[in-house]
Structures are given as structure tokens and as C-alpha cells.
């Protein structure tokens, strides 16, 4: 029963309905009384007396319960009426459509950039197919491109190209020239991810037996390449979908850096102002777009692969390749540098204002001082702890959730698909709007996007453990099913799940930092990488080290994450090789900041 496809469909439908109810009832989920929030936003000087609150409730149609207001909101939303903003009192809909137009245009530009980058990365693998050369991994270029978090790339492009070289306008949305930098900062990491996945998939497919058979039977090279690309494309098309959704709704940071009035900035603004109707509309638009993209990608996958997937698993992205030596060295170096920062910085004090403002780096102050005169080395080192500790807890939480849901089987399918398609920043925006910005809120948002892959993996590991002959036969020895779970299935599942979780740790840390950068996570004066970068970015011309220090820590983590994901698990020499089992954990570490 746990794996019945009917249950999977039922789960999808129910989670969809639940999501709709929740989206409609967002005002009631907010930690604050919606009426009080509106009152505070509009008339800051007015006392929140019961009469005033009642008047606001009356005016906004907030009477009735959450289900009631959800229904009312939906009946408006299907007619294109998203209600009125709590802050301005104006119609929400026109603003959202405008933002959607801007975002769609920007996404289009970014996709063009991404396709060019991806094509460049896939070209060597295709050339090797044409020339019948042995395949190699996607190489360090792909790693470097995907390792750059978007908000960092955006900041760097802004500083170098717009501010120092003055080649392009630094912000705004006034013409094609203002779209170039944002499209680059969105498109390069996305293209890097796609290209890397596709190159790995091409390399994997090129080694399949049928390619050999086709070669022997004299098929033209073009035909072979087309066949290889078709199969490889089928493996990557789901990732393409996630990337598209990420570009459309998750481009918050880039839109913020370049001050582009797109959907992302609309969402962020609504979250900061706790303007829930405006947030609802934005989320709905992104969700509809995500559903459309999802339908399109599954259609594309059907065309490429033929037929629907058998129920039971989300398709894993292709296996990363490479000889691993370079990856090991890269990962090792990055880790060593991070440890060096930690060891030297942790004993220092991150909070005391003891230095001249924006003091330049010197032997006594290796990373310089920030705008308030605090020791940057200390802040970056403490920020490592402040970023990695929640990340660690998130990963552990996701493992627990994954195991629990894996026991439930197909029931978790609907929520998993929704969560899998949510860009972390979108989740962060929603949580921040409901609970106010905090580390815990950001952690909750990142947990929401972290559990699905771990659940999928846990489910496949559990299935595998239960299918082992000796586990199947344990009932014969009088072992109860509870005991089979606790003493035989879980012990063989948990170590591998932990390993997968640890591979995801740096990616989780980066997502947290991105939320911190947007002000949705840790609040000042807490040292946290994202927050440190956003504090430093205002002084980047006078004191570049204020951004360089936390950014380099972040890049080191990112490089570490991507290099680690590229490592293959080394099996003991006599262990049985079961490809289907070794693929998952490494392969599913999708690239950290790219979905951001």
C-alpha cells in the first residue's frame, strides 16, 4: 500500500489543495494580527484600539476565519483581482503584472546567456562523441562557473563593470543595456549548472553499449551524437525546469542588487513591509509559472524518453564524473583555507568596536575593519560558525524528516514535488513575511527546500534495505516488523544518508547566506556571511576588503561544496559495484547557489 501509485496521485492532489488553502489564508498564518499589521503600516501614529482594529478588519474583509478569507481571496484571484495592498491601499494586481513582465523579459535574457554558457561547456563532450574519444568529466571550468553564488556574481559585476569601468548602467530597468549585467549574473551560474549536468550526462550516455553497437553498424556520427544528446537531454530536462523556475521567481538577490522592479523584488518588498496581499499575488504568479514550467518539462521528458516515469522516485540528475584527483585537491585546499580563517579568527572579538572605521588590512588586522571599526577576520570566522551551525542542524533535521517520510512511502510525493520546485529564497521570503526575519525563519525556509532530495534518497535506501534477502527472511526468525525497522533497516540506511547530508552542508550554508544577504535571515550585529557582505557592499569603492573577506569565505565554501559533489565514492576494491546505488548520493547534490 505504501507504494501504490494511487496514493502518489492522491498525495499530489491533496498537497496542491493544501497549498492553495494556505496561500489564500496567508494573512491568518502571520504571527501578527493582520489587522494590527495593516494599522501599523498605514497609520503608524494611531493607537491599536479595539475600535480601530475592528474598523480595519471590516474594511479589508478580514472577518471570518482563515478558510473563509482563503475562499474569498481565491474567488477574487481567479478573476484576476488580488485585493488591495495593506500598505498603499491600492490595487495589487497591476503592480504584479508589471513585475511579471519585467521578470519574464529578464528571464528570457538570462536563458539566452545560460544556453550559450551551457553549449560552451557541452561542446567538448560532444566533440569527444564525434571523434570517438574516451569521455572525461566536465572539468574545472564548469565547477568554477557553478560555484559562484548569483548575488556575489551580481555584486562583483556591479562593482567592476558598472562602477569602476562605467561601461554599463549600474541599476534600473530603462533599456536593453540595463538588462545585460543582471542577465549575466543570473545566466552564468544557471548555464554552468546546466552545462555541467549535460556534459556529465553526455559522457555517461556515450559509454552505454548501444553507442558501441551503433558505431559498429556504421551509423553516421551525427546520428550517434543526436541519439546521445537526446538521451542525455532527457536526464537533464527536469533540472532545466528547476533552473527556469529559479530564474523567474528566485532572482530576488540579483534584482535587489541591480534595483530591477521584477517579481523577486516585489516579493522581497512585500515581505519586508509584511504586505501580505501583495506577497500572495506574487507567490501565486510564481507558483502558476512553476506549474506551467513543470508541465512543459514533463512533456519534454516524455518526448525525449517516451512514456511516463515509473512511480517511486524523482529522477536523479546524472552522475558526476571526473577522475577525482583535481576535485580532491580543490576540496582539500578550500577546506584548509577555511580552517585557517577559523583557527586564527575565532579567538578574536567580533563585536567590539576597537579599530578605525574601514581600516585597511594590516598584519595586526589581516582582513581590515568594517564600517563600524570591528575586526573583520573575527567577524568572518564567527560568521563561519554562525552560518555552518544552523546549516548543520538543517541537514540533520532534513535527514530525520527524510527517514520519517520514507517510511510513509508515496504519501510524501506531493509535498516533495512542491518543495523540490521551491527556490530557497522564495521560501525564505514567505517565512520572513509570516514570522519576521530571523535565523530560525531562514533555517526553516532552507529546511523546506532541503528535505525532498534526502527523502527520495532515504526512500530508495529503505527499499533497498528491505529487499535484501536476509531482511526479507527475518520474519521467519520471529523478528517483528518494528524490530526489523529499528535493528536492520535503519542501521543500514542512516550512515549513507548522513554522508549525503554532509555533502549538502555547504550548499545549505550558501542558501542561508543568500537569505542573510537579503536581510531575511540573521539580523545585525550578528556576524553571518550574507549579512557581512550586504553590510560591506555600500563601502565597496572605499574599502573593497569589507566585501572581499566574507565573499572569499563564501567562495571557498562554495568551491568546497562543488568539488566535494564531484568526488566519487571510493569503494573498497572487493565491494560489489552496484551503479544504481552509488549514483544517487553524489549526483543529487545539485549545485548550491544556482537555485537561489
Amino acid at each position: 500500500m505504501r507504494n501504490s501509485p494511487v496514493l502518489g496521485h492522491l498525495s499530489r492532489v491533496l498537497s496542491g489543495v493544501a497549498l492553495m488553502v494556505v496561500a489564500g489564508a496567508l494573512p491568518w498564518l502571520s504571527r501578527t494580527d493582520p489587522a494590527a499589521a495593516v494599522l501599523r503600516a498605514r497609520y503608524a501614529e494611531l493607537e491599536p484600539s479595539p475600535e480601530a482594529l475592528a474598523a480595519v478588519r471590516d474594511e479589508l474583509g478580514l472577518e471570518g476565519g482563515p478558510l473563509d478569507s482563503s475562499l474569498r481571496w481565491w474567488s477574487g484571484a481567479v478573476r484576476g483581482d488580488f485585493g488591495t495592498s495593506w500598505v498603499s491601499g491600492g490595487e495589487v494586481a497591476p503592480g504584479v503584472w508589471r513585475a511579471l513582465g519585467v521578470s519574464a523579459t529578464l528571464t528570457l535574457f538570462a536563458v539566452c546567456v545560460a544556453l550559450v554558457v551551457a553549449a560552451a561547456l557541452v561542446a567538448p563532450a560532444c566533440r569527444r562523441v564525434l571523434r570517438d574519444r574516451p569521455q572525461r568529466g566536465s572539468g574545472p571550468v564548469g565547477v568554477a562557473l557553478t560555484a559562484l553564488p548569483e548575488f556575489l556574481l551580481a555584486s562583483a559585476l556591479l562593482v567592476v563593470v558598472a562602477v569602476q569601468l562605467r561601461w554599463l548602467p549600474p541599476y534600473g530597468w530603462t533599456g536593453p543595456d540595463t538588462a545585460i549585467l543582471p542577465a549575466l549574473s543570473l545566466g552564468i551560474p544557471a548555464g554552468g549548472l546546466l552545462g555541467r549536468l549535460l556534459a556529465d550526462a553526455v559522457a555517461g550516455v556515450a559509454e552505454e553499449r548501444w553507442v558501441h553497437v551503433w558505431r559498429l553498424s556504421g551509423a553516421p556520427r551525427r546520428v550517434i551524437l543526436a541519439g546521445v544528446l537526446r538521451r542525455a537531454g532527457a536526464a537533464v530536462v527536469d533540472q532545466l525546469g528547476f533552473v527556469l523556475i529559479g530564474l523567474l521567481g528566485g532572482a530576488v538577490a540579483v534584482e535587489q542588487v541591480f534595483a530591477i522592479p521584477g517579481l523577486g523584488r516585489h516579493l522581497l518588498g512585500s515581505a519586508n513591509a509584511q504586505d501580505i496581499p501583495s506577497l500572495q499575488a506574487g507567490v501565486l504568479v510564481v507558483a502558476v509559472a512553476a506549474a506551467l514550467v513543470g508541465a512543459l518539462t514533463s512533456l519534454a521528458r516524455r518526448l525525449l524518453r517516451g512514456g511516463p516515469l515509473p512511480p517511486g522516485s524523482l529522477p536523479p540528475p546524472p552522475e558526476p564524473r571526473g577522475d577525482g584527483r583535481l576535485a580532491r585537491w580543490t576540496a582539500g585546499t578550500a577546506l584548509a583555507l577555511l580552517l585557517l580563517i577559523l583557527v586564527t579568527g575565532l579567538p578574536r572579538d567580533p563585536y567590539t568596536i576597537a579599530h578605525p572605521r574601514l581600516a585597511a588590512p594590516s598584519p595586526a588586522l589581516p582582513f581590515g575593519a568594517d564600517a563600524s571599526g570591528r575586526d573583520l577576520l573575527a567577524r568572518v570566522a564567527h560568521g563561519t560558525i554562525g552560518t555552518l551551525t544552523p546549516a548543520f542542524l538543517i541537514v540533520l533535521g532534513a535527514i530525520v524528516v527524510g527517514l520519517l517520510l520514507a517510511m510513509l512511502g508515496e504519501v510524501s510525493r506531493g509535498p516533495a514535488e512542491i518543495a523540490n520546485a521551491t527556490p530557497p529564497i522564495l521560501a525564505g521570503v514567505i517565512v520572513a513575511a509570516l514570522l519576521g526575519p530571523s535565523v530560525a525563519g531562514a533555517a526553516l525556509a532552507v529546511l523546506w527546500v532541503t528535505w525532498p532530495p534526502l527523502t527520495t534518497h532515504a526512500a530508495s535506501l529503505v527499499e533497498e534495505a528491505r529487499a535484501m534477502p536476509h531482511v526479507r527472511w527475518l520474519p521467519l526468525a520471529g523478528v517483528s516488523s518494528t524490530e526489523i525497522w529499528w535493528r536492520h533497516v535503519l542501521p543500514s540506511t542512516i550512515p549513507r544518508l548522513l554522508r549525503h547530508g554532509m555533502l549538502r552542508l555547504p550548499g545549505v550554508a550558501l542558501a542561508l547566506a543568500a537569505l542573510g544577504f537579503l536581510g531575511l535571515g540573521a539580523q545585525p550585529p550578528l556576524p553571518e556571511w550574507g549579512l557581512l557582505i550586504s553590510e560591506g557592499i555600500d563601502y565597496v569603492e572605499r574599502a573593497p576588503w569589507t566585501t572581499a573577506a566574507p565573499a572569499s569565505a563564501l567562495i571557498l565554501t562554495s568551491v568546497f561544496a562543488v568539488a566535494l559533489a564531484g568526488l566519487r565514492r571510493r569503494l573498497p576494491p572487493n565491494a560489489p559495484r552496484r551503479p544504481s546505488l552509488t549514483v544517487r548520493e553524489d549526483a543529487e547534490v545539485s549545485i548550491p547557489a544556482s537555485a537561489v
Binding site: 501509485p5 494511487v6 534477502p469 536476509h470 527472511w473 520474519p475 521467519l476 526468525a477 520471529g478 523478528v479
Partner: protein, 226 residues
Amino acid sequence: MSDAELTVAQVSAVHGRGGRARQALAPTTLEIRAGESVAVVGPSGAGKSTLADIVLGLRPPASGEVRVSGTAWCTPGSLPDRRRRRLVQGVSQDPTASFVPRWTIRRSIEQAVRRLTGETDAADRIRQAAELAHLSPELLDRRTTALSGGQAQRAAIARALAVRPAVLVADEPTSALDPATARSVCAALFASAAETGTALLLVTHDPELAARCTRTVRIVAPAQHR
């Protein structure tokens, strides 16, 4: 009802569900008395191993009923009660199925004896079972990974007999062994079953082996339409 130890009445099985459902075992009926051995033969895909799984109580039948020692054992809605598991034991094609890989043979047998019979001291039973299965006692303190195929299969027979079952199911017990080892393992299997008066259900491909049983039941391939 007769005094059969094992009664399989009109038992069938279905793989998959919904539109993909496919009959895996056509309705099958057989009976085994104490001390008898019955060979189950039939073409590949006829559902021989599925029948073995059902008799072992590892999966419920789609229809029909299995009775052991005169009481219901497993029906479409129910698997056997944990406390009665002692009654039916098995030897699989893959002897590692009988043992937890990280435990020694002795520990696996001990655990089974303790759970199924409630006896805390399993030493006697283990010694007797090893003797019955022609397993040298020093092998009891190894793990399955350190045994040869024939040794592991004898250990599996010992494990099954240690709890003194009424019915022993052997699913292709020799198919993974070389001919000489297969002969000696078979000898051990038949001898021990006869000595303890256990009803033996032997699933096999091998006509020679089938000929040594009291009776042969041939199961037919299920109809290929859904």
C-alpha cells in the same frame, strides 16, 4: 480435513496492481503429511518461488488458503502470527538470506531459537541441528561471508531445523552449488527431514531431485492475459 501437516488450497498470487496486475501463480492445491516430501516443478515464471514465499508466510496469497498442522496459516488478508512462525521454516536458493551478515551463524540461530521457541539455552538445539545438517561445529562461529556455498547452505538447513518446524520449504536449495556439493547438501536435506519427520516442500528444476521425493506437483504457467 486430513491429517496433512501442510495444506495448500487453491492458492494463487498476483504481481503488481491496477492496470499492471498480472497473475503470478495459477490456483494451486497440494498436501504434505509429516515425513513426506513433495517436489514442486514447473516452467520458469510459473510461480514456484512465489508459492514458496506464500507457504513461508512472507507474502499473502491473492486467493485460497494455506493451513499448517490443521489451522489457518495464511490467507489473502493475513500473514501468520509471529508466535507461530516456528512451524514453517525455509532454505533459500541464496543461503545468505538465512543469516544477518554481521552476525555469526551461531548468533543468528540462537536469536531464532530464542524468539520462536522461548528457550533461553539454544546450545543443545544448535548442536543437534548442525549434526542433522552435516555441518561441522567449528563453522558455527563464522559469518556467512567466510563460508563456502555448500557450507552456507548446510548452515541454512541447520538454522531451519534448529527450531523443529513442522514444514520445511526448500526453494531451489542447490541451484547455486556445484554438482558434487549439491548432491551432498541434498543428501543432508532429505536425511534430516526424514529423521525429524518434517514435511518437506522442495521447489526444484532438477528432475533427478524431484524423483527422490514422495510425490511431484507440477504447476502450470498462469494465463498470460491479465
